[in-house]
């Protein structure tokens, strides 16, 4: 890990709040990615939203990446935005391929509702505490989750 990243105020504040909150931190093209343990996601998100000097009040985007066949297979990706002072932050949570579950962030940012439904629909990741976790793009009776890497692009499933 390089020095400038460790000096970043968001990382410093987050480590002060919870020394175990960050598993790993990376920087690429000026964008900071923090890896958060799955059990601490909700508390970290609430802290980032409410801390007076951070104010990540806006959830820009929520999605997932399938790293099949490696394990831990899934990464759930959160793109946060603070308007004052203006900055962006990416959070990532790694999940196993077998029965992937994660806490919903709808209680933190209500705007996560549709995004989490989309990830549930297309990746098959369960969001615990989501108010209406139903398929959003595909019909209810659809089998499989198309954005998983073991789901073919063409031909029969």
């Amino acid at each position: 890990m390089s020095l400038p990243l460790d000096a970043n105020p968001v990382l410093r504040r987050l480590r002060e709040f919870d020394p175990q909150a960050i598993e790993d931190a990376r920087e690429f093209r000026g964008e900071i990615t923090l890896f958060i343990p799955v059990a601490r996601l909700r508390s970290v998100c609430e802290f980032l939203r409410d801390a007076a000097d951070l104010q990540f009040k806006y959830l820009s985007d929520l999605t997932a990446v399938d790293l099949y066949p490696s394990e831990l297979r899934f990464e759930v990706v959160y793109h946060l935005l603070a308007l004052e002072p203006y900055q962006r932050l990416r959070l990532k949570v790694r999940l196993p391929g077998d029965n992937p579950r994660i806490d919903s962030v709808v209680p933190v940012w209500p705007g996560a509702n549709a995004f989490e439904r989309e990830v549930f629909d297309l990746f098959g990741i369960q969001f615990e505490g989501h108010p209406f976790l139903r398929r959003i793009m595909l019909p209810e009776e659809w089998e499989g989750h198309p954005l998983r890497k073991d789901y073919p692009t063409t031909g029969y499933r």
Partner: protein
């Protein structure tokens, strides 16, 4: 079975109305499920996915350059904005510098796209609230802009004109005169639309204090773009994180405090005025120079040099048959599309095809606020609220 509203136990039975997906005022194939008490909406939910085509899966099977054609087809009212977002994301991944002329042409064309998209919104919005004539006028002017797109790229709508490293081809010699001619006449047309609607008593009755949403709710529900600015939040990606040399242009971000349908109307009308300012600045100050970056392993060579230079021929063969290899990494690039924050999240594993490409579609997030707007309002207001959000279903469903 399509989704529906579950009955709340112990409550008296009310009418459940399924509105859409084939409904003229839902702007495409949007389906709403509304629980009605008389004419008042008690609860509501939306049902989408009727246009789902799996673009995000298709991106993974195409090279980066091929993917550009898919972006046109997501937000079909603003193809050039989508081209720009996707190209900027890849260029960020590649760390590629774009020549100034290409950047300015991109700004000019995306602002024309914004005007064109807002004209469609204005026409259909007025049409749905019973005013027929603005629709006919706005589509007349929109056709002029589409003619400019055709002149430049060869296509009216599915342009695919922005490419990784610059533009697909040099714009024709005479095009800035065409743009200037249109821009000279257009402000008068805009006055005409505003004259028809802004002080129109019926229009004001149908829109003022309808579907109001506060700034806190709007931010919590990830609303973005003109609809967010109509709730009093002064945030525009063009100003906050300037891309494609937007920092060199002088323009304002119009906001309104009310957050209702009328405020969203006023903000978008003001935005058209600001876009005119940007287009005029871009026309007058257009720099000279190449329109493609000097990166032979990424940008296709000129036709002429392929016939004379062996390197150019080899590069052409490599790019067409295999594509280019970006470094391993991930980027998120957002731009201000006519509808709000359009983001592209690209994960690269070093191969010529994106490992994962996710699109943060502004309409997809904005639609969530609709339910908050319509609960407790009349059924007729639902139509005004849908129109004022200016959603495009092609982008929502992807």
């Amino acid at each position: 079975m399509p989704i529906t509203l579950e009955k709340i136990p112990g409550q008296e039975e009310r009418v459940i109305l399924s509105m859409g997906p084939q409904h003229p005022s839902t702007h495409g194939v949007l389906r709403l499920v509304l629980e009605l008490d008389g004419e008042t909406v008690v609860r509501g939910l939306y049902d989408i996915g009727y246009l789902h085509t799996g673009f995000e899966k298709s991106f993974e099977a195409l090279t980066y350059s091929q993917g550009i054609t898919l972006t046109d087809r997501m937000d079909y009212l603003a193809p050039l904005s989508n081209n720009l977002g996707f190209c900027l994301a890849i260029e960020k991944l590649l760390n590629l510098e774009i020549p100034p002329k290409a950047q300015w042409v991109r700004v000019l064309l995306t602002e024309l796209t914004r005007i064109q998209s807002h004209l469609v919104w204005l026409g259909t919005h007025a049409l749905e609230l019973g005013a027929m004539s603005p629709f006919l006028y706005t589509f007349r002017e929109r056709e002029e802009i589409l003619n400019i797109f055709e002149l430049v790229s060869g296509q009216r709508m599915m342009t695919s004109y922005f490419r990784v490293g610059g533009l697909a081809l040099e714009p024709p010699l005479d095009w800035l005169r065409r743009v200037g001619k249109f821009m000279k006449g257009f402000p008068r047309c805009l006055e005409e639309y505003e004259g028809l609607l802004t002080k129109n008593p019926i229009w004001m009755k149908r829109t003022i204090s309808v579907g109001a949403i506060s700034a806190e709710d709007a931010l919590a529900l990830s609303l973005s773009g003109p609809s967010l600015r109509a709730s009093g939040v002064k945030w525009d990606v063009r100003k906050a994180e300037p891309y494609s040399s937007y920092e060199k242009f002088d323009f304002d971000i119009p906001t309104r405090p009310e957050g209702d349908v009328y405020a969203r109307y006023l903000v978008r009308m003001e935005e058209i005025h600001e876009s005119i300012k940007i287009v005029n600045q871009a026309t007058q100050g257009m720099p000279e120079g190449p329109v493609k970056a000097n990166a032979p392993h990424i940008v296709l060579p000129e036709r002429e040099s392929m016939k004379t230079s062996i390197e150019a021929l080899i590069y052409h063969f490599k790019i067409v048959t295999e594509g280019f290899h970006p470094p391993v990494g991930e980027v998120y690039q957002s731009i201000e599309s006519p509808r709000g924050e359009l983001g592209f999240y690209i994960v690269s594993d070093g191969s010529p095809k994106p490992f994962r490409c996710h699109v943060r579609a502004p309409s997809f997030a904005n639609l969530q606020t609709l339910i908050k707007m319509i609960e407790g309002r009349l059924l007729a207001d639902v139509v005004a609220c849908i129109a004022s959000l200016d959603t495009v279903l092609g982008e929502i469903d992807r």
